[in-house]
C-alpha cells in the first residue's frame, strides 16, 4: 500500500515538501513501517539521523499509534520526532 507521511520538526529536513510517499507491504504494522522508514531515509537523505527516526512516534491526526498497531486504511500518517516544546 502507498503511504503519505507528514513530516514535523527535525524530520522536515528529510524532504522540503513536508511529506514522504512510501510503499509498504499490505498488513504491515507500525513497528515494521518504522524499519522501512529507516531504510528509506538512508537512501533518500543524509539530513536525518537514524536515531531521530527510531525515536519518532507514528500517529494519525487523532492519536499516537503503537508498534503492534496496524496502519490506518487511508494511508495517512504523521511522523513525530522527539519533542522539545516550551
Amino acid at each position: 500500500m502507498n503511504l503519505h507521511l507528514a513530516l514535523y520538526g527535525a524530520l522536515r529536513d528529510a524532504d522540503p515538501t513536508g511529506y514522504l510517499e512510501l510503499e509498504v507491504p499490505e498488513g504491515c504494522t507500525i513497528g515494521e513501517l518504522r524499519e522501512h522508514l529507516v531504510a528509506f531515509l538512508k537512501t533518500h537523505t543524509s539530513q536525518v539521523s537514524e536515531s531521530a527516526v527510531r525515536g519518532s512516534a507514528l500517529a494519525t491526526t487523532d492519536t499516537i499509534l503503537h508498534d503492534h498497531d496496524s496502519i490506518p486504511r487511508n494511508g495517512e500518517l504523521v511522523i513525530l520526532p522527539p519533542v522539545s516544546g516550551g
Partner: protein
C-alpha cells in the same frame, strides 16, 4: 470544559498574553494563581541564540493540552481553572513561547497544577524547537521521544504518574 483554555498562537497574527491567562484562571473562589512564562532566551548550551522556530502538530498538541487538564484535575482536585497556550512560528529573542496558568482555592494546588502542566507539555506535546544561532547556523533541539512513555493522551488520569520530578535541561 469551560475551566480549561487550550490554545496555539501563531506569532504572525498574535502574541501570548499573560494578562489573558491570569484573567481566565481568576475566580472568586480562588486565592492562589500560579503562572509560568517560557521565553526565548539569548543562549543555549554555550551558543548565542538569535531566535527560535516552533513547529507544532496542532491536532495532537490540543489533545495533549486537554489530557494535561484531566491529569491536573486528578492530581490536585477541583475546583481548578487551567490555561495552556503555546506559540508557533518564528520567534525572536524574548518573545513568549509558552504560558501555563492555574487558579485554585489555595496556593499549593496552583503551584502543583502549573508545574505538572508545563512538565507534561514539554515531555509529551508534539512541539519542536529549531534554534537559530548568531553564526547563521540552525539546529533542531534534542528532545523527548514520544515512543518511550505512554503519552498523556492515553494515560488513565487517576493514579497516573507525573513527570514533575524528571527535569531535563530543555
Amino acid at each position: 470544559m469551560e475551566d480549561l483554555y487550550a490554545g496555539i498562537v501563531d506569532i504572525r497574527t498574535a502574541r501570548l498574553d499573560p494578562a489573558a491567562a491570569l484573567a481566565f484562571v481568576s475566580d472568586a473562589r480562588f486565592g492562589g494563581i500560579a503562572l509560568f512564562v517560557g521565553r526565548v532566551r539569548n543562549h543555549n548550551l554555550g551558543r548565542i541564540v538569535t531566535g527560535i522556530t516552533y513547529d507544532l502538530f496542532e491536532p495532537l498538541v490540543l489533545k495533549t493540552f486537554r489530557a494535561i487538564d484531566v491529569r491536573a484535575r486528578a492530581e490536585v482536585g477541583e475546583p481548578l481553572k487551567l490555561y495552556v497556550a503555546h506559540a508557533k512560528g518564528d520567534l525572536g529573542l524574548e518573545d513568549l513561547a509558552v504560558l501555563v496558568a492555574a487558579g485554585t482555592p489555595h496556593r499549593d494546588e496552583a503551584f502543583r497544577a502549573c508545574r505538572l502542566a508545563i512538565e507534561v507539555l514539554k515531555h509529551e506535546a508534539p512541539i519542536w524547537k529549531q534554534e537559530h544561532y548568531l553564526d547563521g547556523d540552525s539546529g533542531w533541539s534534542e528532545g523527548c521521544s514520544l515512543c518511550e512513555a505512554a503519552p498523556a493522551t492515553e494515560r488513565a488520569p487517576a493514579g497516573s504518574h507525573t513527570n514533575v520530578g524528571h527535569v531535563h535541561g530543555h
